[in-house]
């Protein structure tokens, strides 16, 4: 992917922010390039919204700085930053109609667009979001999904230095979400407006982000393209954050000759682990890298079917290995047809995508060990 080039449009430098005793941001470092669509992914409470509000000037950092276009924004009022934000709560003006909500930024002293022009813009945006028919309705009479689109529209309707979008698709139903995702992608590609997009949904992040940042406990764990994130996750936290079903993590130790030996004693892998013998490590295997049947893979495992779950054209199969550990894999529907619980199966694992991590510790997730 492109988009990692260009000057930094948004930068957060060592930002600390706490609310009372709760630390929201803990030395956050983040740069978003000009025109880039950046997805910030993390669980709830990781500091995503605070990051956005800090950029917008709605929250003031305790220390550290926010830069927009290379300028320090300390003390600059939100309305002077030229960014637009879509709130997770929508933050629509409940006493106004959808039209007035959309037109609000255009009427503000910052933009002060003539009414006729504003009308054109509002209708363009509404059309884009499929809410043209709702414009005259009071916000209170809209469904959650409709409100979310109005909120998104209020962002898109105006020119902005950057869009800050806080879970803008979270309340849409699945179908609409997919359509909107595509729409957003298209808008992003066309407008090339710098976008900082917050989500807890890894699929969304992977689909939309030119680059992705993974945030946890107020710190960025890793930033990178989707390939970086997928193939070279910084640690098990990041690895777990992406991909459904979740990545399989098999505990084991480093053998005397530097190989990986699974803890349950099932198997040994002839990969070189750059760690001292006896170190506790984990082997990460993506469910899509495991196939049913014994042929072709460098590693073959045996177990019994524990549960199967149909995912559209594919089937997620959970297999219980000999030692009792469970493995998830995704198999084509045809391949998985006829599998019953407790049927014995053989699995083959593709070796090229295997991940190796340190063992998780109480204080931090295990980091990836580069082979």
């Amino acid at each position: 992917m492109t988009g990692t080039t260009g000057s930094a449009s948004i930068a957060l430098r060592g930002v600390h922010k706490s609310y009372g005793r709760d630390t929201a941001l803990d030395g956050l470092e983040l740069t978003v390039a000009e025109g880039e669509f950046f997805c910030l992914l993390g669980p709830s409470g990781a500091g995503k919204t605070t990051t956005l509000k800090t950029v917008a000037g709605l929250a003031e950092p305790d220390s550290g700085a926010v830069e927009l276009d290379g300028r320090d924004m300390t003390g600059v009022e939100p309305y002077d930053r030229g960014v637009a934000m879509c709130f997770e709560s929508y933050a629509l003006y409940p006493h106004r109609s959808a039209y007035d909500n959309l037109a609000s930024p255009l009427r503000s002293p910052k933009y002060r667009l003539p009414a006729a022009e504003a009308r054109v813009k509002v209708h363009e945006t509404a059309e884009l979001l499929g809410i043209e028919g709702l414009l005259e309705r009071p916000v209170g009479a809209l469904s959650n999904g409709q409100r979310q689109r109005v909120a998104l529209g209020r962002v898109l309707v105006r020119p902005a230095r950057a869009f800050l979008l806080d879970e803008p698709l979270s309340h849409l139903d699945a179908k609409l979400r997919q359509a909107m995702r595509a729409e957003l992608k298209a808008i992003g590609d066309v407008r090339r407006t710098t976008t900082l997009y917050v989500t807890h949904d890894s699929v969304e992040a992977l689909a939309l982000g030119d680059r992705i940042g993974v945030i946890s406990d107020g710190r960025i764990v890793q930033t990178g393209t989707r390939e970086d994130i997928w193939h070279r996750p910084y640690d098990t936290f990041v690895a777990r954050a992406f991909g459904r079903p979740l990545v399989n993590l098999l505990p084991g130790t480093v053998t005397a000759d530097g190989h990986f030996a699974s803890a349950e004693g099932g198997f040994e892998l002839p990969v070189d682990v750059p760690a001292a013998p006896g170190t506790a490590v984990q082997l990460g295997v993506r469910p899509r890298d495991i196939a049913l049947g014994g042929e072709g893979g460098a590693l073959e495992l045996a177990g019994t079917v524990y549960v199967t779950e149909v995912l559209g054209r594919a089937v997620e199969v959970t297999v219980r290995l000999a030692g009792g550990r469970q493995l998830s894999l995704v198999a084509p529907r045809a391949a998985a047809a006829g599998l019953r619980v407790d049927d014995p199966v053989r699995l083959s694992v593709r070796l090229e995508n295997l991940l190796l991590f340190e063992a998780d510790r109480p204080e931090r997730p295990g980091r990836r060990i580069t082979p």
């Binding site: 003031e60 003390g75 600059v76 009022e77 930053r81 002293p109 910052k110 933009y111 002060r112 020119p159």
Partner: protein, 333 residues
């Protein structure tokens, strides 16, 4: 107000310059450059104070005499002693060693707790009943506020007239039931209860209106969920309505409790503190001492003590209110 708006003006005008010609630029992809300079930190820190200080000045100015009053309490100023001496805390010592103070304090607490409790229970009950929005309720709701509009001192006089056993209308109406001889304010208990009743009459609407407003702004979904679950009325009331309603009601209760601790006009007009000393609440005693008997410093000390009592009670209640409101605010977004 002024100072705060200036701050906003300053900020606004500086960017107006920065984005001059914004309408033309609006269709461009990117707005003008961000403002060069931010609002200095001290001004941002000061902002909330600027908003609140006028209110403090306005009331504080009025309260200057209060400080003067406080100052007088360390003297023994009285009409009979126009050349006062400094007496230190003697006035306070006298108050606290005087059994009549403790009697008054007890009556005051009884009155305030009684009035506030009845008003809360009755007010919430009336609000709940009105909230059902039946035809009867909708009609009555329009006149709910009426008693509050009669000045308490006049209300007390009208009530006194109505409660008068010989010519009062209440006993006239009760006579057919054989209760024509009730002597409402003639016994210590009766006088206290009658005073509380007048307080309740005047101020229950205050609590009811705030409770009703609170009820009407509660979200509907938890109640719908409870109804779907088949939760009983009592369960819904106890587990849903009250916890959510309480912050609204508590503000009203605090105001009522504090105001009843310093009740004056109702009792003054209804019983003047009698019979005996049975309804001599603290402010009545303070009034008698300071104004009627012109023992000015001593009466003032009484009021300062009363004020301290109210202040402490308020502190406890307000802290509680803060906790309650925070808890209410923590309901997930």
């Amino acid at each position: 107000m002024n100072s705060s708006t200036e701050a906003d003006h300053g900020a606004a005008s500086s960017d107006d310059a920065a984005v001059a010609g914004a309408p033309e630029k609006a269709s461009a992809a990117v707005p003008g450059p961000p403002a060069e300079r931010g609002v200095p930190k001290w001004r941002r820190t000061l902002r909330p104070y600027l908003l609140i200080v006028p209110a403090l000045l306005l009331t504080g100015g009025i309260l200057y005499p209060f400080g003067l009053g406080l100052y007088y309490t360390v003297f023994d100023f009285a009409a009979s002693k126009p050349q006062p001496d400094f007496v230190g805390l003697e006035n306070y010592r006298r108050i606290f060693t005087d059994s009549s103070f403790w009697d008054s304090a007890w009556v005051t607490v009884l009155y305030a707790v009684g009035a506030a409790a009845v008003e809360t229970v009755l007010g919430v009950a009336v609000a709940l009943l009105l909230h059902r929005s039946t035809l009867v309720g909708r009609v009555l709701e329009k006149v709910l506020i009426l008693p509050l509009m009669i000045a308490p001192v006049i209300a007390a006089i009208i009530w006194k007239l109505m409660l008068q056993p010989s010519v009062g209308v209440v006993n006239h109406l009760l006579r057919p039931f054989g209760l024509g001889g009730v002597q409402w304010t003639d016994t210590p208990t009766g006088a206290l209860l009658s005073s509380i009743a007048v307080d309740v009459w005047v101020y229950t609407p205050f609590v009811a209106i705030l409770a009703l407003a609170g009820l009407r702004s509660l979200p509907a979904s938890p109640f719908e969920a409870a109804a779907v679950d088949g939760a009983g009325w009592w369960f819904t009331f106890r587990k849903l309505t009250m916890p959510m309603l309480w912050p609204y009601v508590l503000v009203a209760v605090i105001f009522r409790f504090m105001d009843s601790l310093k009740v004056f006009d109702i009792i003054y007009a209804l019983t003047e503190g009698g019979p005996g000393d049975s309804t001599v609440v603290l402010q009545i005693r303070a009034y008698l001492e300071a104004i009627r008997f012109q023992r000015y410093s001593f009466g003032l000390s009484y009021m300062i003590v009363l004020w301290a009592v109210v202040y402490l009670a308020a502190m406890v209640l307000v802290r509680y209110l803060g906790r309650i409101q925070n808890r209410a605010a923590e309901v997930p977004k």
